[in-house]
């Protein structure tokens, strides 16, 4: 697989270059530049993330244009230095020193990737020194470096979490020239959990097969440091013993760390936490002398990249899950909007307008307008106790029951009795619905039942205001509740406003409630307007009243206006 990736990379045509980075924690890394725009900053999405308060979130970038690399400052607070001079945009040359944020702690060197360049840079990694002491050749070291760069590129492609783990272990084995390796990650209980193990022939090893030096692993994990055990090095007598017990000659165990920036306020104190999230372990039974410094450095870099990679994978999954939930909520919202339309086919004898705004994604208020066979119109507005999804589900059910029962020809009281029984049976003890339900005949007779709901306001065209109450009980409380309708005659120009308590209980910045009084006044003032205009006015007033404060409850309103006699 990796050979394929390499092939693709060389087809890219971008002149190869890399950055040699020693960051604030002393971690040395080699970072290849293989994108036309390579970002540097504090943000996790940066191609080179530098964790320091002197580095801006989006500090700068290295841009590749027509065969040349340029260092660009993206408006950072403290600037970018090129060989000690502050620049905004400048060409980059081999071995240029880049300073980010004027910070001496972080050293970045730009290197063009020719064979000689790599050799020169690897001088710094003490390759030549190791020739005699470790018996490894410069060629081996170069190969390791190349392998590391390959792995870097592979990380960038989207791999499944398991692929990433295997890749990390394989790379570690190769870099350390080990017999086998394994990766362990901290689980939710804070314990190290075996994840994957491989041998040098790329064979997957099971947990049972993989006996390792537990003391080495524990020390690396608990003390957050690399542990190296070799023939020549005596870390600790007990550790050596456990290794020897297993016939192991050389062990390297590197902690995987997760860095977290805690930004308290904009630009103010930022603390950096490091958390050990796992370990990368390799061992071998052959005697190969001490591990070279470059090997250890590369393993360190690998661990760093691995941690980042694992973190991205985790974040990606979290993000996907969050998006999935959001889509579900949005769908639920759409369904509810369909059930509660804002425009209606207007009946012959009156105008009607309505709106409903849930407090959360979906709400517990509902309303409906039905035309029965005999020409009568049924209007209903209900408020389910509670908010959110559970209330919305019950609201939908209630709307359905009412619809069905009216269509079966039941009378107004019978419809309510029926719904009440269903609720008492089906919902748990704390689900109630307050409801106002009315029938308007073509001769303008209004018969209505108010089941525990805040009374609708009836403003008469000839002056006078009434509140429509019948004293019936709310639905869902007692199955023996009885419902009786009352009647009144409506006249042309009469305005009826039915609403949920989210309107009258809406609160402003001074903690005052909108209140019944204010609503009544509003309707009276605007009674000459059409139903839609009245609805709009009230909606705007409530919005202005609460002025930007979060909504406390579902808000629903239905406005009816009896049509004038046709001349």
């Amino acid at each position: 697989m990796l050979q394929g990736i390499q092939h693709r990379a060389t087809q890219n045509m971008q002149k190869p270059a890399l950055l040699k980075v020693v960051d604030h924690f002393g971690v040395k890394r080699i970072v290849p530049l293989e994108k036309p725009i390579f970002t540097i900053g504090r943000r996790p999405e940066s191609d080179l993330q530098l964790l320091s308060s002197r580095v801006s979130r989006d500090h700068g970038a290295i841009i590749y244009e027509e065969g040349t690399y340029y260092l660009v400052d993206k408006g950072s607070t403290r600037g970018i230095l090129l060989n000690g001079q502050r620049v905004t945009r400048s060409e980059l040359h081999h071995q240029d020193q880049i300073g980010v944020g004027g910070d001496k702690d972080c050293q970045i060197e730009f290197l063009e990737e020719t064979v000689s360049a790599i050799f020169e840079s690897s001088q710094d990694l003490n390759l030549s020194q190791l020739d005699s002491t470790t018996g490894t050749s410069a060629k081996d070291e170069l190969r390791r470096l190349a392998r590391y760069v390959e792995v870097q590129q592979a990380f960038k492609f989207s791999l499944t979490p398991d692929d990433v783990l295997v890749l990390i272990v394989d790379a570690a084995i190769e870099i350390a020239n080990a017999d086998r390796g394994c990766l362990m990650l901290k689980n939710e209980a804070g314990q190290l959990e075996f994840k994957v193990a491989r041998d040098s022939k790329r064979k997957l090893l099971s947990r049972a097969d993989f006996q390792m030096s537990r003391t080495v692993v524990q020390d690396a994990f608990n003390e957050n440091r690399s542990v190296v055990v070799t023939d020549c090095l005596e870390e600790n007598q007990s550790m050596r013993q456990s290794a020897l017990d297993l016939n192991l000659r050389n062990i390297v165990c590197v902690p995987l760390r997760h860095f977290q920036m805690n930004e308290k306020t904009m630009g103010a104190t930022e603390t950096i936490k490091t958390e050990t999230i796992g370990v990368l372990y390799v061992d071998s039974r052959q005697s190969q002398g001490a591990f070279s410094k470059s090997t250890l450095t590369l393993l360190g870099s690998l661990a760093f990249e691995a941690s980042k990679s694992l973190e991205s994978v985790r974040l990606m999954h979290e993000e996907q899950e969050k998006k999935r939930l959001e889509r579900e909520f949005a769908t639920a919202r759409e369904v509810q909007i369909e059930l509660l339309p804002t425009t209606f086919v207007q009946p012959a004898h009156f105008e009607v307008a309505a709106y409903s705004i849930p407090c959360r994604f979906v709400g517990g208020d509902f309303y409906d307008l039905l035309t029965l066979e005999d020409g009568r119109a049924a209007i209903v507005l209900g408020d389910v106790s509670g908010k959110g999804i559970s209330a919305a589900l019950l609201a939908s059910m209630a709307q359905g029951v009412i619809h069905a029962q009216f269509n079966s020809g039941l009378s107004l009281p019978e419809v309510l009795t029926s719904l009440n029984r269903v609720l008492v049976q089906k919902s748990d003890d704390n689900r109630f619905i307050t409801l106002f339900c009315a029938l308007i005949d073509v001769d303008r007779t209004l018969s209505y039942v108010n089941a525990g709901h805040n009374p609708p306001i009836l403003v008469r065209a000839n002056g006078g205001t009434e509140l429509l109450e019948t004293g019936s009980m709310l639905l869902g409380a007692f199955d023996f509740a009885e419902y009786q309708a009352q009647e009144t005659k409506l006249e042309p120009g009469d305005v009826l406003v039915i609403f949920s308590d989210g309107v009258t209980e809406a609160v402003n910045a001074s903690d005052q409630m909108f209140g019944n009084q204010r609503l009544e006044e509003l309707v009276k003032q605007n009674e000459g307007l059409s139903a839609k205009e009245i609805k709009d006015r009230i909606e705007q007033e409530v919005l202005a009243f609460t002025r930007g404060l979060p909504q406390g409850d579902d808000i629903t309103l239905v406005a009816l206006k009896m049509k004038s006699l046709v001349p």
């Binding site: 704390n430 307050t434 007692f478």
Partner: protein, 111 residues
């Protein structure tokens, strides 16, 4: 929410103090009533003088308690609900089922 029981003859008076809202009070009330019914104490008077806030969950608690006691062959009545509580009970039509009293003496003699 605190519930302090006391007796007067055959009636157990529960002095409630605090809020009867979601997550607060409803469960304790249910448990207390279940226990009292077990002990054969079937006449209950809930003193709501010190209950300031009551929401739909609280109303649910009252309804549930009423039904439980009724099913157990007893009676549950309310004493001194606050103005807000009284208004809520009125609008929701529960006053036709839940008896309320302003005077403890009269309440006790009604059982």
């Amino acid at each position: 929410m605190e519930i302090n029981p006391r007796t007067d003859g055959s009636v157990t008076i529960l002095d409630l103090k605090g809020n009867l809202t979601i997550g607060s009070g409803e469960e304790e009330l249910g448990e207390m009533i279940a226990q009292l019914l077990n002990e054969g104490r079937k006449h209950l008077l809930l003193n709501l003088a010190d209950v300031l806030v009551i929401d739909s969950s609280g109303i649910g608690g009252l309804i549930k308690s009423f039904t439980r006691v009724k099913n157990g062959g007893g009676k549950l009545k309310l004493l001194n609900p606050s103005r807000n509580t009284r208004q809520l009970l009125s609008i929701t039509g529960l006053l036709s089922v839940l008896e309320i009293f302003d005077d403890e003496g009269i309440a006790l003699s009604s059982f």
